[in-house]
């Protein structure tokens, strides 16, 4: 695999295309999960406060 990349003149393009895609998808998944966790906490807080108050 490493040899293959070193010998291929287009390797840099392929790697950067996959790298950019991975970065965008990672950001998308991470932000989705982070926002979901935040919304879940937010909702539980609001529900708890309602039960107490």
């Amino acid at each position: 695999m490493i040899d293959y990349l070193a010998n291929d003149r287009h390797a840099l393009y392929v790697v950067s295309a996959y790298g950019a895609t991975a970065a965008i998808l990672a950001w998308l998944v991470w932000s989705t999960l982070a926002a979901n966790a935040r919304a879940r906490r937010d909702m539980q807080d609001a529900e708890q406060r309602r039960r107490k108050g």
């Binding site: 003149r9 393009y13 392929v14 895609t21 998808l25 979901n36 807080d45 609001a46 529900e47 309602r50």
Partner: protein
Amino acid sequence: MSIWRYANPAEFMRLTDRLVVPLWAAAAALMAVGLYWSLALTPDDYQQGSTVKILFIHVPAAMLAINTYAVMAVASGVGLIRRHHVSFLVAKAAAPVGAAFTAIALITGAVWGQPMWGTWWVWDARLTAVLIMFFFYLGYMALWAAIEEPEKAADLSGVLCLVGVVFAFLSRYAVNFWATLHQGASLSMAEGQRVDDVFRTPLYIMIAAFYVLFVAILVVRARTEIRARRARSLRLQEARA
């Protein structure tokens, strides 16, 4: 038993609660198989060399760049006609995902174009149409962000989305028409260029992986929106009491 019962936020949450983990797992598995197959098991193309591997992510991303807007249009239409707030929230949740896939399609396309066409960007009809799609997503998200009342934002962005889908078709047609005069034919991909059989199976797997990933992200984002909306209404009740 009708499908409309999932328009109830509680029903939607109950159904998707069971779906989230399998969806992520399926997306990860398909992505792993698809990536291994397309990167390690396919030969280089005799014309494109190793850059053919870029197409395994470019093609699914470009498909989703267009289809996500169709999802949003259907959801907006259902929301406006049947007054289901969950539909609007699904449309809202889909927009950033569509924008991200559009960005991926544009970036991978540019990176493929540089070695193959000798230029990062060509004013080709398809490329231009995808670029225009990106601005449709941006506008839709900007409208949601600009209006504070969620009910109003939902209805107005629904109207925008439906108007947008009509004009997306018109733009596609206009851009095709425009390209007949301006396009250098040597740089465009031959119409209906065949995908060689060796590349077809991994390409299908990657398409499936992207679609399942899209659904997984969409479902989680829709759940986030529903929860945020519930928290907001609870807080409003509290403030009123």
